[in-house]
Each structure stands twice: as structure tokens, then as C-alpha cells.
Symmetry: C2
Subunit: 141 residues, 2 copies
DNA sequence: CCGGATCCGTTTCGATACTG
DNA sequence: CAGTATCGAAACGGATCCGG
């Protein structure tokens, strides 16, 4: 979706940057998986139930890296592997993702909302705080 | 982006419905314009600075209508025209949009954040409440 | 094996032109 | 004014190949 982002000057409500990065559905899924599902390797993203193709995943990860939302690092445990992590900028998307998940949960036809959703709904601030806490903890590893 | 939405069953964090509707950048812009900028006619959307093409706009509006986010009505003032309005479901997207706009504003390189953004930042609840109030007021017209 | 890159047929998008 | 029709460009995604 190149066009709406191009002519973004002086918009009353900025949103174009979000469009460039999140306007793509796959990207949104990757960020959600990073933030809430603990996925971090190429393979884990590939195996996500939505079924992304490897070339698409590769491209999206590169783009996320280039806009500073994720970083690619060597796995500390296994130096042959890579792990992807959200940056601070990436983590700052938490409120957006949380609202998005909550909104979706309202209309998704599931018998019972998953525990994650219930935790989010109960206390948004607390949920974001704990996600950030987990993120910081994983930092040192 | 057809695929991620197709296999959406039993996701730990629902988001697929949001992907179907908001995963497209143009759609996001339309909803933002409806919610925060008071745009409501086909022409007003067309004239938005981002420059959407008429066929794209048409298709996106139809899709938004089919998923129950907007309704298409005759203009009460001028019966020859149509106006598009957010439904209750559409308005329930307000928190998502607000967080999205706030996040974008952080990284958008503008000299001063527009008044809207400052108002949002100051009090999110109040901003959403007033947006909803304006929406209800416009209902009776 | 893992993390991609490349190729290529198919689908979708979107700018422009056109119509009721 | 509010959309359709057309048609080239771009994106998608499955298969396959490659370096470590």
C-alpha cells in the first residue's frame, strides 16, 4: 500500500507511519507473535497457524528491522541460530496491539476468550507492564 | 492479504478479524477519517490528502459495510446524496485508532503535534467519550 | 537441518478513463 | 456525484535452491 503513505504531509491525525509498518497484515501478525506469544525464531514464525510463506516472512522481518521495530541477534544459547526481538520502539506498540486484540476478541466467534484476552481486559496497564517486564527479563539472556 | 485470515481458528490472541478489516491501509484511513475528521461522503474521502483512487474507495467502503463497520445512508439534507456513518461496531474501534494515531505521532516528523493529538494524549477516555458524543449527536440529523 | 534467497505462475491492487 | 471497467504494475505464495 504505497500511496497513502507517500502523501502524508501535514495530516490532521498522523497515521501514515503506522500504515507503512502495520498496514500489512502479515507484519501485524509477526509483531503480535513477538509481543504476546513468545515466538522469536524464523521457524517459529513459519509454523504459526496462519501459514506465512518463507519469502514473505523474510521480507517482512527485514522491513521491521529497517524501521527499527525488531532487531536480529544471535541466539545466546545456540550461536548458529538467530532470534528476533522487539526494540523499545517495537514494544511501544503494545497499547495498539492490545486494543486490536481486544477488539478482535469481541467479534471473533470463539466459545471462550483465551486467558490472555481475559487478562488484557481485566487491566490493560497491568498487562502492558507485565509484557514489558518479560521483555526486559529476556533482554539479559 | 487473504491467507492469514483464512486459517484463523483458535488463535491464542485473536486478531484475524482486525486483519481482515484493518489490515488494509486504505481501510484504516477511511475509518480514521470517519471517526476523527468528520468526513462522510464519497467525495470527501476522495479528496483526502492521501489520494485514494475511486475504485479502491468504492471497494473498501463496500467491504466496511459488509462487515458492519459503516452504514450507507441517504443524506437527510439532500436526498440525492449518500453519507457513510460508523456503526456501533465501527465506533468500538475508537481505542484502536486512538492508540494508532498516538503511536504514529511519536515517530512522525512534524514540528508540532496537531491539536487532536495533544487532546488524545492528555486524556484518552475523555477523547473517546467526546468522539462518541459527537457521533451520537450526528445520529439525529 | 536452519535461515533465508530466487524463480515464476497467479492474484490483487490501483491510476486512469468512463458511465448512469 | 457516486461509482464501474480496463489494464498494466505490484504483490503473493508455492516450489526450489543455497550457504553455513
Amino acid at each position: 500500500m504505497p500511496s497513502p503513505a507517500r502523501h502524508s504531509r501535514r495530516s490532521g491525525c498522523p497515521i501514515s507511519i503506522a500504515l507503512e509498518t502495520l498496514g500489512d497484515g502479515w507484519t501485524l501478525l509477526i509483531v503480535r507473535d513477538l509481543m504476546f506469544k513468545g515466538r522469536k525464531t524464523f521457524k517459529e514464525f513459519l509454523q504459526a497457524e496462519e501459514g506465512i510463506a518463507s519469502n514473505i516472512l523474510s521480507e517482512r522481518l527485514q522491513r521491521l528491522e529497517s524501521v527499527g521495530i525488531v532487531v536480529k541477534l544471535r541466539d545466546a544459547q545456540d550461536a548458529r541460530r538467530y532470534v528476533y526481538r522487539l526494540t523499545e520502539k517495537g514494544m511501544s506498540l503494545a497499547p495498539v496491539l492490545l486494543e486490536l486484540v481486544l477488539w478482535s476478541a469481541q467479534f471473533e466467534r470463539t466459545d471462550a476468550p483465551p486467558a490472555v484476552v481475559r487478562a488484557m481486559r481485566a487491566d490493560r496497564e497491568a498487562f502492558i507492564a507485565s509484557a514489558r517486564h518479560a521483555w526486559k527479563a529476556a533482554q539479559r539472556s
